[in-house]
Amino acid sequence: MATAAKAMDGPGQMLEVSVWRGGETGAYRTYAVPRLPSQTVLDVVTHIQRHLDPTLSYRFACRVGMCGSCAMSVNGVARWTCRTTVAKVAAGRRLEIAPLHNLPVVKDLVCDMTVFFDKWKRARGSFSPVAASGGDFAVVRPDSRARRAVDAGIECIGCGVCYASCDIVSWLPDYLGPAALNRAWTLINDVRDGAFRDRLRAVAGDAGCHACHTQMSCTERCPKHISPTAAIAGLKRATALAALRGEL
């Protein structure tokens, strides 16, 4: 029995892969892909496009877990396909691959990230220097509370996995989302930044941090192990304090 099961999962066996084809409307198409040792989901998608169906559109770049371009929904869960082995997710030799949730579909596995980055801007997720350039270096102690808060969230590469995993994003179209809010929090804590008050105003309210209900799907899924939930909790505290002081 055990030997038979081993043979089932070994090389030479075929994967049944359902891939979303089309735009917002479309259908899943099924492909048979040879199973290989240490195969990743990105390997599977690449095989389909190169050997089975050249019309398949998908996105990738580094393929080694550094850029986040290959993020897709695999069996209903947002993941980096280059860092997801088939062995980990293929339940009974079946895979379902779709574009990232909560984002408009351009074609097949490619989603439109425009609104994701627009919200980044709306959350004032960019640095506004205080001092004119050419002055003295800013002194930032790495073990200070503020810097540790920044460091906890600074590694975000904007892959969209958290955004795709958040229910509030799907329920409230205006919600800025975990990535934008996490970035805003890193800037709120950056002592060199000068847009503190404007940024708090940008992230407060129904479209901002107060819409988060701590579902923590973002934290659960982030491939960089960042916790946007913690960042958003920090924003809640900062905005509440500002509101109480009449500074919001």
């Binding site: 929904s73 209903g76 869960v77 949730h101 209900h213 799907s217 939930t229 920090g234 809640k236």
Partner: protein, 115 residues
């Protein structure tokens, strides 16, 4: 495209569902609760008559469920207040489990005493 249940199958999400559903059900229950207590305006006998109705086993079961909902909403809410105001990340899963355990304990306490 919308996410499905696979993306939601983790403890913090279940905690959210419990908290929201219990909150909604309690909000629906409260007016009935207030109306019943308000019967005391018509005298003690009036209130007592209604209380006799609550002696029925089915009602006692419903009451136990309500107590569970209230306890769950309370413990889940305290967990949220801790997560939001204490920025305490490493213990979240433990918090959810502790909240669930405390709520069940309260529910049991009620069930054993009302029987």
């Amino acid at each position: 495209m919308r996410a499905d249940w696979h993306a939601r199958n983790h403890p913090a999400y279940w905690a959210f569902v419990v908290h929201r559903l219990s909150g909604l059900l309690l909000t629906l229950f409260l007016p009935a609760h207030f109306l019943m207590l308000g019967q005391a305006l018509h005298g003690e006998a009036q209130l007592d008559g209604l209380l006799r109705w609550t002696d029925a086993p089915l009602v006692k079961t419903a009451e136990t469920v309500l107590i569970l909902l209230l306890a769950a909403h309370l413990t889940g809410g305290v967990r949220l207040l801790m997560l939001e105001f204490l920025a305490w990340r490493n213990w979240q899963k433990a918090l959810a489990a502790i909240a669930a355990g405390a709520a069940i304990a309260v529910g049991l306490g009620f069930a054993l005493n009302v029987a």
